[in-house]
Amino acid sequence: AQSVTQLDSQVPVFEEAPVELRCNYSSSVSVYLFWYVQYPNQGLQLLLKYLSGSTLVESINGFEAEFNKSQTSFHLRKPSVHISDTAEYFCAVSDNDKIIFGKGTRLHILP
């Protein structure tokens, strides 16, 4: 079965600084990969996903993630964070026809 590892439970970063949230998954077998975001007191929202094709995928709010098959990673990056990016970020991987989530990384933006 697939699994997802998010090594950092919390990442503090200053506003307008770059950030990387790390994610590794368990298998190099063909997979779909996802990043979900959960803002305070809200539900889960899909941020971006990798299905096939270009290994770099982008979201509409400036985040991007790169699928690296050799390192089984799918790290999430943003060149300049804003206070509104404060949220919990979950990396997820498909396992047959269901999605398995990591434990999450809390992004804490410092003023």
């Binding site: 809200q42 539900g43 979950f90 026809d97 269901k98 999605i99 398995i100 989530f101 999450g104």
Partner: protein, 112 residues
């Protein structure tokens, strides 16, 4: 398109009581999932339905949890009797394909 509807939004019960959650998926989505998200953790899959049949319930605590999806549309998740450790957000999701998941807003359960 309407999203995944869940109710109630919040529920507080005493331990050993029973509780039920309801989910109405997006029209046409054959697959429905229930997840449990304990505070500070990622969502954990409890059960997966394909139409009205169970595909995977390996992580469902069957001694106290049950779920059904009558007629392959709405679904109900029940806990009987509840324990303190069942306090969590219960998320419903539906999809046509695995790359098209949509989550509901969830039901926040507090067991006291």
């Amino acid at each position: 398109e309407a999203g995944v509807a869940q109710s109630p939004r919040y529920k507080i019960i005493e331990k050993r009581q029973s509780v039920a959650f309801w989910c109405n998926p997006i029209s046409g989505h054959a697959t429905l999932y229930w997840y449990q998200q304990i505070l500070g953790q990622g969502p954990k899959l409890l059960i997966q339905f394909q139409n009205n049949g169970v595909v995977d319930d390996s992580q469902l605590p069957k001694d106290r949890f049950s779920a059904e999806r009558l007629k392959g549309v709405d679904s109900t998740l029940k806990i009987q009797p509840a324990k303190l450790e069942d306090s969590a957000v219960y998320l419903c999701a539906s999809s046509r394909m695995v790359n098209g998941y949509t989550f509901g807003s969830g039901t926040r359960l507090t067991v006291v």
